[in-house]
Structure formats: C-alpha cells, structure tokens
Amino acid sequence: MIQIVLPFHLRNLAQLDGDLFLPVEPPTVAALLDALEFRYPVLRGAIRDQITRERRPYVRFFAAGRDLSQDPVERPLPAAVIAGKEAFYVVGAIAGGK
C-alpha cells in the first residue's frame, strides 16, 4: 500500500478524512494517479489534465526528500515509498498570491 498525502483543497474535494493508503500496481507515479482518480473521481482534472494526462503546472510531486515532478511518470516510485516508510506528497506549488 502506498501512502498518499493530498493538499488541503484536494482533501476537501475528495471529502477525505484521515490518512490515505491505496494499492498501486505497478508502483509508478502514473499508476498511483490512476488509482487515486479511480478511487476519487472528483480528482480527475485536479492533478493532471484529463485529456493530455500532463501534470497541472502548479502541482508538484514530492517523495523521499525528492521532487519527482519532472521525472517520467512511468519511473518506479522511490523504494522507501514502495516499502511504506515514506509517503507520496501531492503539493500545490508556491505561486505568489492574489
């Protein structure tokens, strides 16, 4: 099981209360997002574009002390995430304010 940590607004959208663990197979970012959107359809389009599947510009993926945002989504997740020792973070990027 992979632990996924969502930002405030996405937790609200998904009406998520408590920690989130999902089975992800294979253990890649792409499969993780597939599993997340399957479990919470309301998140479709909120993290990546529904048509192009591209990550939204102000969304970042952090895990095991690394920024995975620019990595190929088919690359395996860090071993510590797969082993359940670390969480996978979906983060709203710092982007000024208005």
Binding site: A46, Q50, I51, G92
Partner: protein, 371 residues
C-alpha cells in the same frame, strides 16, 4: 411570503445571502468552497433549489458543483470540457496564432425550461451544454469554429465567453458575448452563429467598425422584449432594437461610458442600470464616488444614484457579472464590488445599503426571487 436568495461568487469562495420579501434582514451563508475562485453560480429558473457553481483554481483546475437543496449541500459534477474536433488557433496577445486551450468556466446559464439543461461559457472562448444536470458537457462547436474564430483575441482578463442570454420567446435564439471578439447570435439553438456587432466602434481596433474584435463587457435584456439588447462595451453603452443586427450608442450624459455591468429593471423594460468606471486605465469610479446610473428612457439620459453608497475615497470596481435584479415590487437591485461589499436597493436604486462589507473580491452576483 416570498423571499430573495443572492448567489455571490468571489475570489475565495461562494456566499449565499437570504432574506424574506421585505429585504431588510439578511442571513449570510459561506464561504462555500472556501479558497476557490467562484466565477459564477446561478439557480435554475424552473427548479430554484438547483444551483450550478463554477469552482476553479489556478492550482487544481475546474470543478462544477451542483446543489439540489438551495445551497445547503453540494455534489461535484462533471468537469471535462473537451473542445470538439480540431481545436485550431485564435490570436494571442502578441498577435500570433495560439491553440484553443480550456482554462475555466466564466458563466453558467441554466435552461429556462429544463432543470437538467445548462450552458457554460468558458475560456478560451467556447460554449458548452449539459443536458444531464452537469454530469457531462458537450461543446456547441459552431461558435468556436465560426470563420472569424482564428481572429479572436483575449482581453486583459482572458478570452472568456462571459455572457449567455437565452431568449424566452424565440426558444432557439441564444446571444453570447466574448472578450474580445464581440457579440454573437444563434437562431438555431446554438448550431450556427453570426456576429452581431454592427454599429459598435472600438478605437483600439485597426478598423474601429470591424465585424469582430470588440471588447463587449456585458449584455442584458428584459425577458418581455428579448429583441431589445443593452450592452456595456469596453467604452460606450449601446442599444439594439433588432436583436443585435444594429447597435446605437446611448451613453448620453454619463460621466464616463467605460464600465462592466449593465442590467434592466424587472418591471420597466426601458429602465436600465450601469456603474460608470473612470477608464480602462483606472478601474475605479470617477472622483472616488461610487454611483449607479439609471436611465428611465432606455439610455441617453441618466441620473446618478448615490444614496447610501460611499461618496469619498471609494476605489473599487464592479465586474461584469456582478449586478442582478429581483422581480419583487419595487424591484430590488444588487451589485458586488472588488472591495468585497454587496450593495442592495429595495426601491429600484433610490437608496442603497451594504448587505456585507468584507467579502473577498466579488466576481458575480445573481438573484433568485423565491415564492
């Protein structure tokens, strides 16, 4: 007793204000969807407790929410707005071709007859329709693929389709407006479209009288006379008496004819309201005095309405979708400001009071008159 429900969209959430028919005491509910930009929310005319909401975020994109109990609870609906077929290009700010790219929903217009049908005006400019209560959306692609589409260009706020008027008499007639392409009309339910901008004059265009390219800010009509249109353009307040085939200027004695909102009295089709803004360079009221101007003559002659509005040091703006009227008698007029105030008049504009003072910047105001 009848009542009024105000639906207020802001930069940081939606607010719902309710009052009975006296319109003296208001309850405020919200923020709904706190932290999200709520460009617009609007109730179905045939099922008033059904409310559609456009919820968006620069981080997390577009959501559509729906309530079936007057805003007490919400349900996330479909948010896939896929342009139909090849998207083609429009003009970008630098004049280069730019592929159509969905950004957000600016305006939701529920059907006049079917609570499950609703239209969405989006940026980059296109018109979508849902017939299943906003679960799925389908583009009325004849608008975006109009032969002029490749020449459309964004206004400063983006290339949004911000105005949708459904004709209650000729049911297949729809008016829309786009910044900065202009106004368009369909007479076949949205299948085909024609620009309706003859008579508009825009100095920022190489040809000021061009068929398209005008920065229309808002269009309104009275439901009993849907062929008579009133327009607040970037500059100029305009009127058409033939469904947009020809426009004439009615700015008359306004202190400035720049502005965003325009609306029509619920019971007097020749009584219209605007909020003059100083200029396209200074988006605030002239002299720091917030005044609504009312014309009882369908334009041309205007009277300032300032009782209860701030008359010094006021530098807010009133955005294009942020004015609405109720259908009580006397007619209630409402508008919201970028300073977070929502002002109301229960006597057709003669006197005003602030219902709330400190909301986030107001993007839209709609009114439901409830039985």
């Amino acid at each position: 007793m009848s009542g009024v429900r105000l639906l207020v969209g802001t930069r940081k959430g939606a607010f719902i204000l309710t009052a009975d028919g006296k319109r003296k005491h208001w309850d405020v509910s919200g923020p709904h969807f706190g932290g999200w930009e709520i460009y617009h929310l609007k109730g179905s005319p045939v099922a008033p407790n059904r409310i559609y909401v456009s919820q968006s975020s620069g981080w997390f994109g577009q959501q559509i929410q729906r309530s079936d109990d007057g805003g007490q609870t919400w349900q996330a609906m479909g948010n896939l707005f896929a342009y139909e077929g090849a998207t083609g290009t429009h003009q970008s700010h630098d004049g280069k071709p730019h592929p159509w790219e969905f950004k957000r929903v600016w305006h939701l217009e529920p059907s006049l007859t079917d609570p499950d049908a609703v239209y969405a005006g989006v940026e980059d400019a296109a018109l979508f329709r849902s017939t299943d209560g906003a679960q799925t959306w389908h583009e009325l692609a004849g608008l975006r693929t109009h032969q002029s589409g490749e020449h459309w260009q964004p206004g400063a706020g983006g290339m949004g389709l911000h105005t949708i008027l459904l004709d209650p008499v000729q049911r297949d007639r729809i008016y829309i407006a786009i910044s900065a392409a202009g106004a368009f009309r369909s007479d076949d339910g949205g299948r085909t479209w024609r620009p309706i901008n003859r008579g508009l004059h825009s100095e920022f265009l190489p040809d000021p009288a061009a068929e398209i390219g005008h920065c229309v800010h808002h269009v309104a009509f009275h439901p009993s006379r849907p062929d008579v249109l009133f327009m607040q353009k970037h500059w100029d307040v305009m009127r058409s008496d033939n469904a947009g085939d020809q426009w004439r200027e009615i700015s008359g004695d306004l202190p400035t004819d720049f502005g965003f909102v325009i609306d029509v009295h619920a019971h007097e089709p020749e009584t219209i309201y605007v909020v003059p803004i100083k200029s396209d360079s200074e988006h605030f009221p002239p002299d720091g005095r917030l005044r609504v101007f009312r014309s009882r003559t369908g334009g041309g002659h205007w009277e300032p309405l300032s009782d209860g509005l701030p008359q010094a040091n006021c530098y807010v703006n009133v955005l294009r979708d942020a004015m609405a009227v109720d259908s009580l008698d006397p007619c209630g007029i409402y508008f919201g400001t970028t300073g977070g105030q929502v002002y109301a008049s229960a006597n057709a504009g003669d006197a005003w009071s602030a219902l709330v003072h400190d909301l986030p910047p107001v993007l839209s105001v709609e009114v439901q008159t409830l039985p």
